[in-house]
Symmetry: C2
Amino acid sequence: MAKRSVSIYDIAKLAGVSTATVSNVLNSKGSYSEKTRDLVLRIAREQGYVANFAAKSLREASTKTIALLTPDVSNDFFSTLVLKVEGLLRAAGYASYICNTANDDEREDEYVRGLISKQVDGIVYIGGTTRVAIHAAADLPVVHIDHTGPLGMTREVYVGNDMPQVSYDMTSTLFARGCQNVALVSVSASFYRTVEHDQAAGYYRYLQEHGIRLDKNLVLEGAHRQTSLIEAAQLVSECLDAGYSFDGVVALGDRVALGVVNALKERGVAVGRDVRVIGMDDSIYSRISSPAISTVRRNTSQMAERGVEALLGLLRGEGSAEAHIMVPHEVIERETTLGE
Amino acid sequence: MAKRSVSIYDIAKLAGVSTATVSNVLNSKGSYSEKTRDLVLRIAREQGYVANFAAKSLREASTKTIALLTPDVSNDFFSTLVLKVEGLLRAAGYASYICNTANDDEREDEYVRGLISKQVDGIVYIGGTTRVAIHAAADLPVVHIDHTGPLGMTREVYVGNDMPQVSYDMTSTLFARGCQNVALVSVSASFYRTVEHDQAAGYYRYLQEHGIRLDKNLVLEGAHRQTSLIEAAQLVSECLDAGYSFDGVVALGDRVALGVVNALKERGVAVGRDVRVIGMDDSIYSRISSPAISTVRRNTSQMAERGVEALLGLLRGEGSAEAHIMVPHEVIERETTLGE
DNA sequence: TTGAAAGCGATACCAC
DNA sequence: GTGGTATCGCTTTCAA
């Protein structure tokens, strides 16, 4: 729609030079006299010249744009990651195209198709899961940050934590604080669980290694993929209503943990004493809760850095050194596990 | 980067027709025989044809893309708005380009310049404030949703709440619950306050109308534009340390309110009884707080709907019927004002 | 119904 | 140092 703007042609005519020269000056390429440069730049400024991105992209077959696909920007953990990645890409001269897939495969397909059409130079999946690898056809470099998706692309790198180890450490933290019956609460649907990214695996492993009997009644799994807070609260309530009891909760996600804490508080349970809770992500939810929720810091800064680094490498055409980059995590104990 | 993909030319050659025909078929325009259509569509599918967006945009001088400028996607209120606007635009056939300005004018300038270059068809400002109207040159339709910016564009619409009335109602709610000394806490820098969007105005007006003396010591204003939570907590602490006291707090924002509540709780104040607090936005912060924070629901759905509606009108070339669209708000009382 | 060809705006090669 | 021109992929007259 935007009104026909001044083109390189107009500038060339006004300056009495060719478009080639204007292009050179504007891009600091080739050679030209200082005089021409000043003239061209002055006129360009006067005319309010702005390069036509579509033309440039068409010609160069590159958009200097990276698509950021995330399931939910309103989730603090993801949006933090998105912002960090965006900042790093910007510094490297790339624009970011943020896409919200809402964990909807169909929508994601549609998006990616559009992105290929839009000629993005690469894709960064942030968080969540993806089951279809539609971008295969376009041969785009792809980086997955804390994201589970189909493998097998050629130019592809995964960045994330050792999730089984994360849940192992969470479980271990609770037992170290004296818990005897530790429940597991998660609201991710089962397809989130792939062999290598099974978030719950560490919980099972810990129990096994320590000869603790697994009580299936304490493994609470929500089916939905949204509003984890409310769903987690419900799961906990139902479990307690059914007469089961526990003194520790491994919550796969801070939102989930917050839901658990709220549900327990409502029942008059002294969270941090009677029941200890640990979440995951070190997001705003764990920090603003009262009592403050113990959690696992998963190092979003490092994820973003390593991810962008890897992507830039792929864009430069370098074969990726590592296909799987593991970022260290760290347990942060707060009131919900430290309560005396 | 993406490997040279199949163009409309390749399809034309394979199908033994002209590019014009292929284009027609692909866009369901013009006329062609059913046979040609089937042939072209089949080949296009077989070859995995994806239209080159750059070429299309260049030719059509339109990108069917709207830029969404927001100061902070990690803020629940804004991200909700962004998501809703995006959904509505998608339904109308427009893609959204989400930009995070971080409340940084320079960055915003840079962004907008890039957007003009990228040929977006319109701009939606969501939240925050803007002091420079750089898009003026491009004559783009602009919609402001809960956003304060320079006026004077021709194709421009504002959508938002009657902010002075919002703070008036907040103040009124506290006095109705028996408060006598009501403080005002805000962390927005003063330039956020323009004549028409002065968020604090209603507080002053209420006091004035009810003959209540304004105590300057109870007007707490933070200078920063981020981490409002911590800053609000500090402001409250400092105020109390200085020996001033209050039994009600109008917090301009839920994050601010949460900071206030946290600070009060830490000092052993019974929030909702000794001191009543009301926030604004009905964001996740007010809902997950304990005690739950009373707030003002500002009706993001309606804002998004009316905003998109207005934008689509402008894009269709219709003169906007209304330049200022006011969306109703609603006080939601929760524990922090209802405590007995 | 179909096709030839112009043109959107920028870049880059190759002469001069 | 500078300029003519082909080209990127697509849409769109206008003729056939």
